[in-house]
């Protein structure tokens, strides 16, 4: 024991270490079981590779993503440019690698914000019910009855172009699904006896929502979240199609597919390679998600 430290602190430290060890052990066990799921492993490998490539993009590729060589426009793949050059003579591979950063961030951040907002509101609405619930449920129905694209276009018009504005536009309706999931989860959990036990013990509502119920409903949120990451990236592509989205200097897979599809007749590689990588990432993320689900929550039947 460090001198001067209270017993309480030392116990706390011991407990903390123990908890860490336990957590590591259980995480290790989970990973081990995940390791037995071949497709999850394959997915994890692909995801890791893509993420690594994105992080190390400047080291891997000899070009800069926004360096134009207008004379090399439409250079086919295989030559100087491994995956070809685009309509402005930029290296497609480099742009895919750099694009990974933004695309993955868009997916991650929008999903994270959506899960957080939807989750918190859903837990509150589900737990307290009553007016709050009625209001929130009505609101979500109004949002659902409101065409998504209209909002996204409008929001981008209102906010102007930019990464964060795009994120907000995508989150606007993204949270609704998580709200519903969380709310349904809470409704199912809150009548369970362990919640009643916590109430009898005198735990506060906040403790019950945060420590008792939340850990039990978070898995479906995460599983659907992994699916939605892909959807968000595709959504970003659709916004690019309509001419709004992220500033053009930052390559995203969505905008690359969109830019390239017009030239698909004479330069198929422009949109095909980013498309393939997008599908690969979404597929892998979902394989990992599915594998995790099987390990963490075999009963969960979300698609």
């Amino acid at each position: 024991m460090i001198r001067g430290e209270s017993t309480q602190a030392s116990v706390r430290r011991r407990l903390m270490r123990l908890r860490l060890r336990l957590w590591a052990e259980s995480a290790g066990a989970t990973l081990k079981r995940l390791g037995r799921n071949k497709s999850a492993v394959a997915g994890a490998v692909v995801v890791t590779a893509i993420v690594l490539a994105a992080v190390l993009a400047p080291l891997i590729s000899p070009y800069s993503p926004d360096k134009m060589n207008l004379n090399d426009r439409f250079s086919p793949p295989g030559g100087e440019y491994v995956l070809g050059a685009d309509h402005l003579g930029r290296d497609v591979l480099t742009r895919i690698l750099h694009g990974a950063r933004v695309s993955i961030l868009v997916g991650l951040i929008t999903v994270a914000i959506s899960i957080f907002t939807g989750g918190v509101l859903g837990v509150l609405a589900g737990y307290y019910g009553g007016t709050l619930d009625t209001f929130m449920s009505r609101l979500t129905e109004v949002l659902l009855a409101f065409p998504y694209l209209i909002f996204a276009i409008g929001a981008m018009a209102m906010l102007g172009p930019g990464f964060w504005n795009l994120v907000w536009a995508l989150c606007f309706k993204g949270w609704v699904e998580f709200f519903r999931l969380a709310r349904a989860g809470v409704l199912a959990e809150k009548t369970k006896e362990y919640v009643e036990a916590a109430k009898v013990l005198g735990r506060s509502d906040l403790e019950i929502m945060g420590f008792e119920i939340l850990p039990n409903i978070v898995n479906p949120l995460l599983v659907v979240g992994t699916l939605r990451m892909g959807t968000m990236m595709v959504m970003e592509a659709s916004l690019s199609f309509l001419g709004i989205g992220i500033p053009p200097r930052i390559p995203t897979w969505g905008s690359m597919i969109q830019d390239g599809y017009r030239f698909i007749l004479n330069a198929w590689w422009l949109s095909t390679f980013p498309g393939i990588i997008l599908v690969a990432l979404v597929l892998s993320v979902n394989l990992v998600g599915e594998g995790l689900r099987e390990v963490l929550d075999p009963d969960l039947q979300t698609f």
Partner: protein
């Protein structure tokens, strides 16, 4: 009998559940708001160190009564007095050993919450948890395991430990053994019995298994559609059931070695607690129904020569 303040006493306790039909259904179909009178005027008491058995058919309001007593539900009317005061101080053990423990918490966390609420300082919690586990027949090895790693009986033991951690004077045990195998059931019943002998805790034992109630209770209350119809010391109730419902209930029990041919057959099925009939609740299935049963709720009658044996039945009232 000498007058004592019981540990817990309910006075005219009621708990209703309301369900509102939609606006149109009310206007066009004339549907009314429906009231489920789950508990409808219950006066019971539990003494220090006593086990009160509560039996009755499914849906008659046993669990609701238990929940009102530990303060999970606020009473619609009436009061629960704990040694004369109104702050609830009971703990609860639940029927479903799978749902009653949070699947994401280790035993340490589960017990930790109780100990924290009791105000046990952090550094003592581990020791205290170990003591509790040993008390309910588990070992310290189990501290860091998750509920899914336990069998049903072990989970029920953890549930008991969680309740005990609060050092309660009363434990409401809602069907604590009905989900368990007979062999495990006996273990848990013995555990509860031992605890009572050791700590003097009182139990409200809710069960539809009359054998269990007979074995474990000092007194028994029989409930029918939100009301107590008979209450008596265990032996006296089982030997001399006085309410027609109790009689039917007891005769239906399958007993080892009995043939079951001499049963009293109850007519009809359990009516619902939604807007129950006026007068005696049991009138629809009673073989001895009289005119007065439809008009007036029966008042409690103490069986002569059998102290503490009270029955709510017009038949008995007219006899005495």
């Amino acid at each position: 009998m000498k007058e004592r303040t019981p540990l817990v006493k309910t006075i005219g306790l009621k708990r209703y559940f309301y369900s509102r039909p939609g606006f149109l259904a009310r206007c066009l179909l004339g549907e009314k708001e429906r009231t489920t009178k789950a508990v409808d005027g219950v006066d019971i008491y539990i003494e220090e160190g006593e086990t009160l058995g509560l039996v009755g058919e499914s849906g008659c309001g046993k669990s609701t009564l238990g929940r009102v007593i530990v303060g999970l539900y606020a009473p619609t009317a009436g009061q629960v007095l704990y040694e004369g005061k109104t702050e609830p101080n009971g703990q609860m053990i639940f029927q479903n050993p799978y749902a009653s423990l949070n699947p994401r918490h280790t035993v340490r966390q589960i017990l930790g919450v109780s100990l924290e609420k009791r105000g046990v300082p952090l550094e003592e919690r581990e020791d205290e948890s170990v003591k509790l586990l040993e008390r309910v027949g588990l070992t310290p090895l189990h501290l860091d395991q998750y509920p899914r790693q336990f069998s049903g009986g072990q989970r029920q033991r953890i549930g008991v430990a969680r309740a005990l951690a609060m050092r309660p004077r009363l434990i409401v045990a809602d069907e604590p053994v009905s989900a368990l195998d007979v062999s495990v059931q006996a273990q848990i019943l013995n555990l509860l019995e031992g605890l009572q002998a050791e700590t003097g805790v009182s139990f409200l034992l809710i069960s539809h298994d009359l054998a269990v109630v007979h074995h474990a209770s000092h007194r028994v209350a029989v409930m029918y559609l939100g009301k107590i119809v008979e209450t008596a010391p265990t032996e006296s109730l089982f030997e001399n059931p006085s309410h027609p419902y109790t009689q039917a209930l007891l005769s239906a029990i399958p007993r080892l070695g009995a043939t079951g041919e001499s049963r009293i057959r109850l007519q009809g099925t359990v009516p619902s607690a939604v807007d129950p009939p006026p007068g005696c609740r049991f009138q629809t299935r009673c073989a001895h129904k009289m005119d007065i049963c439809a008009e007036m709720e029966p008042l409690p009658v103490e069986i002569r020569g059998d102290p503490g044996h009270v029955v709510w039945c017009h038949l008995r009232a007219s006899k005495s």
